[in-house]
Amino acid sequence: MIKYWKYILIAIILLLGVLFPFYAGAYQQSIARTVLIYLVLAISWDMLLRSGQLSFGMAGLFGIGSYASVLLLLRLGASPMLSILGAGLVAFVVAALLGILVLRLRAMYFAITTLAIGEIFRIIIRNWSSFTGGPEGAILPNIIFDGDPVLSYWLVLGLALLAIVLSVIFQKTRIYFALTAIRNNEVVAKSSGINIFKYLVIVFAITSALQGMAGGVFAQTYGFVTPESSFSADYILLPIAMALLGGIYGTLGPIIGTVLLGVLAEYLKLYIPYGHLIVYGIIIICIIMFMPQGIVGVVRSKIIRREVG
């Protein structure tokens, strides 16, 4: 019975999401696009975290994707849609190669290497001006769908749904067992026959492809890239705060956290125009200290307690 209601609820939310442009104004739509982009980053970050690997590479891969899509269009004449797929592919390859090099050592080594990705690619882009446009960035001649807001919204929504579906697949198949085992105890995981390295490289590459596509979509809907804005630390800070607040190691948590903080973000921007990001830093610190299981975790343990007690 509960299952039944769950599906109806999901269908209603999905319908509301798809029809959003028809009952919301232009301003709300632009907020929704931003929130959905952050949703992709938050979910994909969590998907890798389920294996116990902490990535700070979201900004780097987002920026790589942004640049890849713009350059594919400008230099190779790819269509906007194709360039977004290309952005995903480039991010996938970069992450796979990096993963093969560094994922044999994990935890802090991996975390810090990913933190450096953004820095490194920013340097490459700034110093390879002839190809990338250098410090000033690059501008697209045209925005995707000629700037049609409804179609752009659906494009972003489609990417967010892809991320959600992948995340659910990660939770419902053998991947779930592999990632949870690796997170809990690598030695036991190995002895169960799990190829840790292979799983980590593949998951890192897949989640990076999502982040790269998010960058591609963003660049195509806004029409420009710059080394500073495309690799901004916002894309690390916000997704982590969102996923932590909602609750890590699952699909629902990042969704809840993204919606809550995404809406809050708009108010924050109005009240603290400079350095509103400090709030996310404080949220991250507070949650790690007082509520590491996030909203979903707290609610779930309340329910379990009620059932048991």
């Binding site: 802090m108 810090i112 820095e119 110093n127 990001l277 400090i278 790690i288």
Partner: protein
């Protein structure tokens, strides 16, 4: 034994090779060596406290460079509002940073000491963001600089002229290293700290107050980043985001030196400093120098993972 015999010549070979490279460079591009060594001082001075925290408290402080920049900003305001010279500001800044380190440890890091490493990394990342954005909020993202005339002092040896002020970083790094080694080897408190670093549980059993050691060592390290922050301001312009790359470079050096080894950091810094300044000596390609540390991290990771194999 076999391992050790194998290892020693390796170190000797690497050492001799780098010495040869440095001597060659000294003839070919003497300023590369000079500026490289100056950079090395800056890097080592910042990385040493990070190694101290990692070696004893066992925490990777991802807010490390941000603490240094925070100190630089505090110095900036002291100089600007009270007309202090930066060197006079050294004492108050170090005290403030020590207290800041204590507060932050007490109210945040302490509570995640028993949590998984992941939580600690996320926490210190959050701290880094709070520091950066706090600076952004108070001081805006506009770069700040103070101008001091002695910073441009130079010397001429033979036909080459070079700036000499940068050697102040080497002086600072050497003093910090010597101070730390003395502290850890000769003082009672330092020896207790080493014991805690090697085996916290054992140290607790023999009656060492582990929590006190943690908080003091952490605060001491933050105070040391304060010294480097003051010096940093004297010769560079600062902006809130400037700390991040020093966090990453410090980690790179700590990893190269072998987690927690202090003297190794000096050699690693010289390597990084000279490599960077070598690339910077090519007109128009200087921007690429900031990639060197990343290549080094990857090499370290590869070497470590192959060593672990057998």
């Amino acid at each position: 034994m076999a391992e050790r015999i194998l290892k020693r010549p390796l170190y000797i070979i690497v050492g001799l090779l780098s010495a040869a490279v440095i001597v060659l460079l000294l003839f070919w591009k003497p300023t590369v060596v000079v500026y490289g060594v100056q950079r090395a001082g800056l890097y080592a001075g910042i990385a040493l406290p990070m190694a101290l925290i990692l070696g004893i408290v066992h925490i990777v402080n991802l807010a490390h460079g941000e603490f240094m920049i925070t100190a630089a900003y505090i110095t900036y305001f002291l100089c600007n509002s009270f007309g202090m010279s930066p060197f006079a500001a050294l004492v108050p800044v170090v005290i403030v940073m020590f207290l800041l380190g204590m507060l932050i440890f007490k109210f945040t890091i302490k509570h995640t000491l028993k949590a998984p490493e992941l939580n600690q990394l996320i926490l210190t990342f959050g701290l880094a963001m709070v520091l950066t954005q706090g600076l952004n909020l108070i001081a805006t993202s506009q770069p700040r600089k103070i101008s001091l005339d002695f910073v441009t002092s130079s010397a001429t040896v033979g036909e080459t002229t070079f700036g000499t002020y940068g050697f102040i970083y080497d002086l600072a790094a050497v003093l910090i290293l010597a101070g730390l080694l003395f502290f850890l080897r000769k003082t009672k408190f330092g020896k207790a700290a080493v014991a805690v670093g090697q085996n916290p549980r054992g140290a607790r059993i023999i009656g060492i107050d582990v929590n006190k050691i943690y908080i003091l060592v952490f605060s001491l390290a933050i105070a040391l980043t304060g010294i480097m922050g003051v010096l940093f301001l004297t010769s560079q312009s600062i902006f809130p985001l400037a700390g991040g790359s020093y966090t990453m470079k410090s980690f790179c050096l700590v990893a190269m030196a072998g987690m927690g080894s202090l003297p190794g950091i000096v050699f690693a810094s010289i390597g990084l400093g000279i490599a960077e300044s070598f690339i910077m000596s090519f007109q128009g390609y200087g921007g690429w120098s900031n990639i060197v540390f990343f290549a080094l991290i990857i090499i370290v990771i590869l070497i470590k993972s192959f060593k672990g194999k057998r």
